[in-house]
């Protein structure tokens, strides 16, 4: 159940997402598995939010629903004033195209496109994209734009993925364990990029992770457990990524 005080806190700004009593069940043969069991949450515009939880807590499912690549079994999700859960398949696609940027644990870059081309892939379908070089400059990879993913390190690949997500100038950046496959040093660089994007462009950034340390850089941390929101904590003094340790 959502903590009303914490929810209010998000209301400091206008809520970009309102998640209401969302449940998600998976039919696994004869048993039904509940991934989300009644989640309610408001996310403010321009917020840097971390959703924390162990694997199986339902955080990825929640992210996927917010991102429009999965649908809840019950409950509703509002994006601004529109009801996301009422969208048709093609409306969801348009929604992802125009509003959402995804960053995955395993980058999911096209192996046969260069860094620059990977970014262009996103700019080609968006309305007001950043220039691909511009986006790469943002993640400090301008120099390596001609390289293929297999010629880049993990951290670099993740930064390309962020550039690809950011280049669309999305309102929301959804990051699923963005540092999960990286060592601490590289991880911090990636997190810094995310923080910069949040600050410089006002993009709402939602990071899901099992790494509690990352929670320290968010103003609000949503902790999930067994498909429910356990609590929402507010950091009065969020730390910068460089200060984190894990």
């Amino acid at each position: 159940m959502g903590d009303p005080i914490a929810a209010l806190d998000a209301g400091g700004q206008e809520a970009v997402f309102r998640v209401q009593d969302v449940e998600k069940h998976y039919q696994m043969g004869e048993v039904t598995v509940a991934a989300l069991r009644g989640v309610s949450l408001d996310i403010g515009s321009g917020e840097f939010l971390v959703i924390l939880g162990p694997s199986g807590s339902g955080k990825s499912t929640l992210l996927n629903i917010i991102g429009g690549i999965d649908r809840p079994s019950l409950g509703r999700v509002f994006f601004g004033k529109k009801e996301l859960t009422a969208y048709s398949e093609s409306e969801l696609t348009r929604y992802r195209r125009n509003h959402i940027g995804f960053v995955f644990q395993f980058y999911n870059l096209m192996p046969n496109l260069t860094a620059r081309e990977n970014v262009e892939m996103a700019t080609e379908i968006s309305r007001e994209p950043l220039d691909a070089t511009e986006a790469l400059k943002l993640v400090d990879l301008e120099e390596r734009r001609g390289h293929f993913p297999s010629q880049l390190s993990g951290g670099e690949q993740q930064r390309v993925a962020i550039a690809r997500a950011v280049a669309k100038q999305p309102e929301i950046l959804l990051c699923d364990e963005p540092t999960g496959a990286l060592d601490i040093t590289t991880g911090k660089v990636v997190l810094k990029v995310l923080a910069d994007v949040n600050r410089a462009m006002g993009t709402t950034v939602i990071v899901i992770t099992h790494n509690a340390a990352i929670g320290q850089m968010a103003r609000r941390v949503v902790r999930m457990m067994d498909g429910q929101v356990r609590d929402i904590r507010v950091n009065p003094q969020p730390r910068s990524p460089e200060e984190l340790e894990w």
Partner: protein, 790 residues
């Protein structure tokens, strides 16, 4: 092994789309092999049984007139088993209710039905009983086409006397399995031409040839020594005016039939190899992908102690099971096709018997061949599986290094490409072998299609060349004997005749050094408007006062060209002296063999100032039929041929048989294109699902993602098509060479719209395959795919 087998069956069911696609290709391969090989054997068996049972002659001698006793003396020649003298003569027939004359070829048979060579098979009625004169047995096709039955009577103009003949039976003969009058006719015309068998005594009386014959048929002990034997027979019969000796292998009906049988044998060898080769390639792509995908599983199996043999045979079994599914279907379809084919053949060729069997060895061989191809296709992937190191396999495979492609150096173009096209091009260069196989499959498919359509174009062109460009008459009138100019004036007097030109057709032995050839030389008036000879550039040839124009085939067979000199010796008549004549030019002619000369020059060789035995006529528009009717009762007219009828008949008969085979070819080609594209799409989809799912997550619509796969298919198909045209045309050239026979040669001619049609159909098959894969693309599960690293 049991668990592995379970995995095998689940895998096959899981990939049922691909399984069906490959099995269909295998099915086409085995079915075509079984159908063609069985039809080949059935036809051969039917023919040989027929020939043996009805004592089809090994040789035939055509002569002016010989006493029957002289004919019988041939039996004394070494190697000759039996001979029979016959009277063979063509006559005009007058059928009640039929306005146009028919041509009947009278063949005499012994009065008693005993030991008859080229014996007839009575389909109805009875043999001659020696009582009634004027009895006739007619060929079944002629009877059917003209609605004649036993007891009917019709008139025949024999030796300028009208005889009323009564039908006592209908029959088939091994001599006329393919019922055509001469090689020029190409296809049977059952309405206009029939065989009339009469008793020897009636023929002798009617033709005033008592105790004589003009045609001798015989059987020999060893057909291999036929040439030598025929030389002797020729010499012995020389005083009786021999004008041709024909070995069985040169007999027209036999020849058409044998060409068909030979064609079947060749097709039975080539067609299945194409299909099974393609099936092997598809299996290769499919299994390679499977091994790559199941790397970890293979590693696990090995780690738990499965042997390399177990794993190798697992993948080979996979290919074998799919192949066997196709084989079983192929056996059923193939046997069914084989039966349908022999039934069609018995209709087309006239056999009284039908020998159709199931050949276990052919079925077994078809399976053997299919299995061999399957193993070839599977072995590469299976060996790759065997090479996998268990410890390495547990770790993710290092991604394939991406290369810059050659096209990228052309930055101007590259910069203008959308990223989807960049992805497509990079992907093609990443999986070059697979892309190559796809393009190759489309190439083969479009090539096969092209061959089918080509034969249609070629025959169409061949016929229109003959009947529109060369022959410009409306009606050709053949006369009973050689006549002077008066005959032309008589013909010109008919109302409908606008223009009439004389023609003299005479058989000669043409020789150059040791090569000889029997050719009917046609004498034409110089500047003829009704027959235009054309050279190899299709420019009109001017027939000079001197010299001979030869058709390409005759010139080639004699090894002569313009400027050579050949020797002519008439094969008939009282003139026997040889003359030497220069070859003036070589004329293009696709069917029949021909030689042409100035009519008066030809007459002079025969010691006449002017002779004609036929006329070409241009009539008033639409009056050809009327003229033909008017000529029916005119004495001295042997036959009237309306060109448009002949043209239409050949075209219709050819089109009928070709439409069937072209449809089959198009379907087969479609199966290949479909299977190869569908399989490539499915494999590509499975391999790149992560990439494609990421695109969906980023906001690409399902159709946009699908278009990446589709456009890759289109690009490769376009490439395959581009290669398919030259490939198909090269195959057509081979076909042209293969069909360069005495009977006809195919022109290498293809219509532009045929290329277009091939392209359109190929693209249609590609679209079909794309649509079949669409469901899988739409079902791409973003959440599942992106959840974890593979």
């Amino acid at each position: 092994m049991k668990v592995l087998d379970k995995k095998l069956f689940r895998g096959i069911i899981g990939a049922r789309g691909q399984t069906i696609a490959v099995a269909m290709v295998v099915l086409c391969g085995t079915a075509s092999y079984i159908a063609l090989a069985a039809a080949h054997r059935n036809l051969l068996l039917t023919r040989d049984t027929y020939y043996t049972e009805y004592e089809f002659a090994d040789f035939e001698v055509m002569l002016e007139r010989a006493p029957l006793t002289a004919a019988l003396k041939l039996e004394n020649l070494p190697g000759v088993r039996r001979v029979q003298g016959r009277i063979v003569e063509e006559v005009t027939l007058d059928l009640v209710g039929q306005e146009e004359p028919r041509i009947g070829r009278i063949i005499s048979l012994p009065d008693r039905h005993e030991g008859v060579l080229n014996d007839i098979h009575l389909a109805s009625g009875r043999y001659f009983d020696g009582e009634g004169a004027n009895e006739v047995i007619i060929s079944t096709t002629f009877a059917d086409a003209n609605h004649l039955t036993i007891g009917d009577r019709f008139k025949a103009l024999i030796d300028n006397k009208k005889h009323s003949l009564r039908i006592i039976g209908t029959a088939l003969s091994p001599e006329y399995v393919y019922m055509i009058r001469n090689a020029q006719e190409v296809v049977p015309n059952p309405e206009r031409f029939g065989i009339l068998w009469v008793s020897q005594s009636f023929a002798e009386m009617a033709f005033d040839m008592t105790g004589a014959c003009n045609n001798i048929v015989g059987l020999v002990n060893a057909p291999d020594d036929l040439d030598e034997m025929l030389d002797r027979a020729d010499r012995r019969l020389d005083p009786y005016g021999v004008f041709a000796t024909v070995k069985r292998e040169d007999q027209i009906s036999h020849r058409f039939l044998s060409d068909e049988i030979k064609g079947l044998e060749v097709s039975a060898r080539i067609t299945p190899a194409i299909f099974l080769g393609i099936a092997a390639l598809i299996l290769m792509v499919m299994l390679n992908r499977m091994v790559r995908q199941e790397r970890t599983q293979i590693g696990l199996l090995k780690a738990s102690g499965y042997s390399n043999t177990a794993i190798t045979s697992h993948y080979v079994k996979y290919a074998l099971i799919i192949t066997l599914i196709g084989c079983l279907g192929g056996c059923v379809v193939g046997q069914w096709l084989a039966n349908a084919m022999i039934r069609m053949y018995v209709q087309f060729y006239k056999f009284p018997i039908l020998r159709s069997r199931i050949y276990p060895d052919i079925l077994a061989r078809s399976m053997g061949i299919a299995i061999a191809f399957a193993i070839v296709g599977a072995v590469g992937a299976a060996r790759k599986a065997a090479k996998i190191h268990p410890a390495m396999a547990m770790r993710p495979q290092t991604p394939k290094y991406a290369h810059r492609t050659a096209l990228e150096r052309a930055t101007f173009i590259w910069r203008r490409l959308s990223f989807t096209w960049k992805m497509i091009i990079r992907n093609i260069s990443r999986y070059r072998v697979r892309a190559g196989i796809t393009a190759f499959g489309v190439m083969v498919s479009s090539g096969i299609m092209l061959i089918g359509f080509f034969s249609m174009d070629a025959v169409g062109y061949m016929l229109s060349f003959q009947y529109r460009e060369i022959q410009k008459e409306d009606v050709k009138i053949a006369l009973e004997s050689e006549r002077d100019r008066g005959a032309l004036r008589d013909i010109a007097r008919f109302d409908a005749v606008r223009r009439a030109e004389p023609l003299l057709q005479y058989p000669f032995k043409v020789s150059s050094e040791w090569r000889t050839k029997d050719v009917g030389i046609i004498g034409l008036t110089p500047g003829s408007q009704l027959m235009t000879l054309l050279d190899d550039q299709e420019r009109p040839i001017v027939l000079g006062e001197r010299g001979l124009v030869l058709s390409e085939k005759v010139a080639e067979d004699l090894g002569v060209k313009a400027g050579s000199v050949v020797t002519l010796k008439p094969l008939m008549g009282r003139v026997t002296k040889e003359v030497r004549v220069p070859v003036r030019q070589v004329a293009r002619q696709y069917f029949g063999i021909g030689a042409y000369m100035d009519l008066e020059a030809l007459s002079r060789i025969l010691d006449e100032p002017f002779a004609m035995n036929a006329a070409l006529v241009r009539t008033d528009p639409g009056a050809a039929r009327k003229l033909s009717r008017d000529l029916k009762d005119i004495p001295g007219v042997a036959a009237v041929e309306i060109k448009e009828d002949t043209y239409a008949n050949i075209l219709a008969t050819m089109a009928e048989s070709m439409n069937i085979s072209n449809s089959i070819l198009a379907v087969f080609a479609g199966v290949i294109a479909f299977a190869i594209i569908y399989n490539a799409t499915i494999v590509s989809l499975a391999e790149r699902q992560r990439e494609l799912a990421s695109l969906r997550v980023m906001g690409f619509t399902a159709p946009e993602v699908a278009s990446i796969l589709y456009n890759e298919n289109f690009l490769l198909s376009g490439l395959g098509l581009l290669l398919g045209f030259p490939f198909g045309l090269a195959m057509c050239k081979l076909l042209v060479k293969a069909y360069d026979t005495e009977l006809y040669r195919m022109p290498f001619h293809i219509e532009r719209r045929t290329l277009l049609l091939t392209g359109v159909l190929t693209i249609a098959f590609v679209i079909l395959a794309n649509l079949a894969a669409r469901r899988k693309i739409n079902r791409l599960d973003m959440v599942e795919v992106l959840k974890a690293r593979e």
